[in-house]
């Protein structure tokens, strides 16, 4: 019975699977008994925990599989109906008039992502370098929680902030309504900072101190050490971080729908409204029926594939990095 108590506290552990009775009554196999230094109850407990974690992992895998299956089943008829090329390559998205081309949306999503990355990437890597190499421990105590807090703000709050605060400022400075790529870039740039900054900081911290010391010993300044030595050494980790940031930017919906303006065209300027892959689902879902609804699931399939490509890219790059070192 002592086995079912926590060794540190002496409290009985609420354990459903380790049955003390079976441990006492059933004879232990002699060979095992000789090898095992743990009691039968502990053995069952370990086995139960192992299976519990297996179930947890299976739920995650099953979740992905079920979503992919469901989205795929709901969405594939549109590929069959309008053709893969017409669906992915068509510029007109007017589902109520039987135009199901999502190239406009794909291009718009990419434009939003690239701009956000161009602004947010350097910002995030700079933040990470500051946290890892420059900041005093006290400064780090303040900045790091602030960056982490950015990740915890719900995206709809970013969107609301963008709509109510940022958009009027953009409209005032640059004219027009304030909806468009530029406003979306600013919002998304801030949103991807925590993702990229935390992972980049981890990558920089995993560079051994010996490398820093060697660089300083060669007479390099702090800036030279960061730019010539540390960033190249952490390159793979930083690229991974940026790809994760790209995934966040392209999948963002609520913040984008509020400041993008949602016009179904490729914008002819960075202050013109546009619609993306994610926001079209939010906007059209309430009234979509029939082929239109199927087409929205088709859009979901495309989003799914894009994020799978990102994950695959990270895996390939990481493997490549391991082979290099």
């Amino acid at each position: 019975m002592s086995d079912s108590r926590d060794p540190r506290t002496g409290e009985p552990i609420p354990e459903m699977c380790a049955d003390p009775k079976s441990a006492e009554n059933s004879p232990r196999p002699p060979a095992r008994q000789a090898l095992m230094t743990i009691s039968k109850a502990t053995y069952f407990k370990e086995a139960a925990l192992k299976n519990l974690f297996l179930v947890c992992a299976c739920v995650a895998v099953a979740g992905v599989a079920l979503i992919f299956l469901f989205v795929g089943l709901e969405g594939w008829p549109i590929f069959a109906k309008v053709g893969v090329f017409n669906f992915l390559g068509g510029l007109k998205w007017y589902p109520t008039k039987q135009f199901f081309g999502i190239l406009t949306l794909i291009v718009n999503s990419m434009l939003a992502m690239i701009g956000a990355l161009a602004i947010g990437g350097p910002l995030a890597v700079g933040t990470a370098v500051f946290l890892s190499e420059v900041a005093s421990p006290r400064m780090r105590e303040i900045v790091r929680p602030a960056v982490e807090l950015l990740a915890g703000i719900p995206s709809v709050v970013y969107g609301f902030f963008g709509l109510v605060m940022l958009r009027p400022i953009v409209a005032h400075v640059f004219g027009g309504l304030g909806f468009g790529l530029f406003t979306v870039w600013l919002i998304l740039a801030v949103m991807i900072v925590p993702t990229i900054a935390t992972l980049t900081e981890d990558a920089l911290r995993s560079v051994p101190d010996g490398i820093r010391e060697a660089s300083y010993a060669m007479g390099a300044t702090k800036w030279q050490t960061i730019w010539r030595v540390l960033l190249p050494a952490a390159k793979i980790g930083i690229i991974d971080a940026i790809i994760l940031g790209m995934g966040r930017a392209i999948g963002e919906t609520m913040a984008v729908v509020m400041v993008a303006g949602n016009a179904r065209v490729i914008p002819d300027g960075i202050f013109k409204p546009f619609l993306t892959l994610t926001t079209v689902i939010v906007l059209d879902m309430p009234y979509a029926a029939g082929d239109h609804r199927t087409a929205l699931f088709g859009v979901a399939i495309v989003l799914f594939i894009i994020s799978m490509l990102f994950v695959a890219a990270i895996r390939v790059i990481s493997r490549f990095g391991k082979e290099m070192s």
Binding site: R167, P168, L177, G261, A263, D268, L283
Partner: protein, 275 residues
């Protein structure tokens, strides 16, 4: 003629039998079904809740399936009251439906208060929303690009506006599409070159409602039918309403509901019952 009378008699006897059955079960007399226009839904629903509170034991079931479907349902007798946001078509007028106007829906074309333009013709509004006129100087205003603000396709206001102004033409696809009346109003209130449209009931001093064809948008012009972008919302019954249906309709037409529920939903009350 004889045949029609026979059918009517048959229908009547059927209704009597059905209502007789229902009386023994005790459902039909206390439950009223109201179905049709999604535009009318907010009024019918809130009024139903208050009606049930005021009349314990009575149930009013409200649903939104579209005006045409609502008219069909009440004609077939699958609901007690059909609701519609459009007038009856000529071929629907002979179906024996009683049309009760319960509210006025008027759409105001709104601009920023700083915009010196105070009125447009319907054709100009149409050209602007089709993207044919892109600068305010094209309609006698300052040299300022027009910022078009449209509603999403799920919006009943968009549908009505499109019908009133554009006819068969399409909206300019480059216009900003916003998913709510409040958003349209606040964006137009902040951007000097913006133009949008919302239900007249939601116009407040932060925006300016334009006169259309020289007729200002206000309750008087909407009430006397001169303002061009307005329509009535209707309740339809098969024959003169009676019993629970009549009680509910009178409740909706009462000043209490007209001044609170109808106005809160962004519509205008009908003058003197609107019959």
């Amino acid at each position: 003629m004889n045949l029609r009378r026979a059918v009517a008699l048959l229908a009547l006897s059927l209704v009597l039998v059905v209502s007789g059955c229902a009386r023994s079960v005790g459902v039909s007399l206390t439950t009223l079904t109201v179905t049709g226009s999604t535009t009318v839904l907010p009024i019918a629903e809130v009024a139903a809740t208050e009606f049930e509170a005021a009349n314990p034991g009575k149930r009013v079931l409200v649903s939104g399936i579209g005006s045409s479907a609502g008219i069909e349902a009440v004609t077939k007798g699958t609901c007690d009251i059909g609701t519609s946001s459009r007038d009856l078509k000529p071929e629907e007028k002979s179906l024996g439906l009683v049309d009760i106007k319960i509210a006025l829906d008027a759409i105001a074309v709104i601009v920023n208060p700083s915009n010196p333009v105070s009125g447009l013709t319907k054709a100009q509004v149409s050209d602007i929303f089709q993207g044919k006129i892109t600068n305010w100087k094209g309609v006698g205003g300052p040299d300022l690009p027009i910022g078009l603000v449209n509603r999403d396709e799920a919006s009943g206001t968009r549908e009505a506006f499109s019908k009133f102004v554009l006819g068969t033409a399409d909206f300019d696809p480059t216009a900003a599409v916003l998913p709510g009346t409040g958003q349209v109003r606040s964006v137009v209130a902040q951007a000097s070159g913006a133009i949008g449209y919302i239900s007249l009931g939601f116009v407040d001093p932060s925006v300016k409602a334009l006169a259309v064809d020289g007729i200002p948008a206000n309750e008087t012009t909407v009430g006397n039918g001169t303002y061009p972008l307005s329509r009535y919302l209707h309740f339809l019954t098969k024959g003169q309403p009676s019993g629970l249906a009549k009680a509910y309709i009178d409740f909706v037409l009462s000043p209490k509901i007209q001044e609170s529920v109808v106005r809160d939903a962004g519509f205008l009350p009908v003058a003197e019952g609107g019959k």
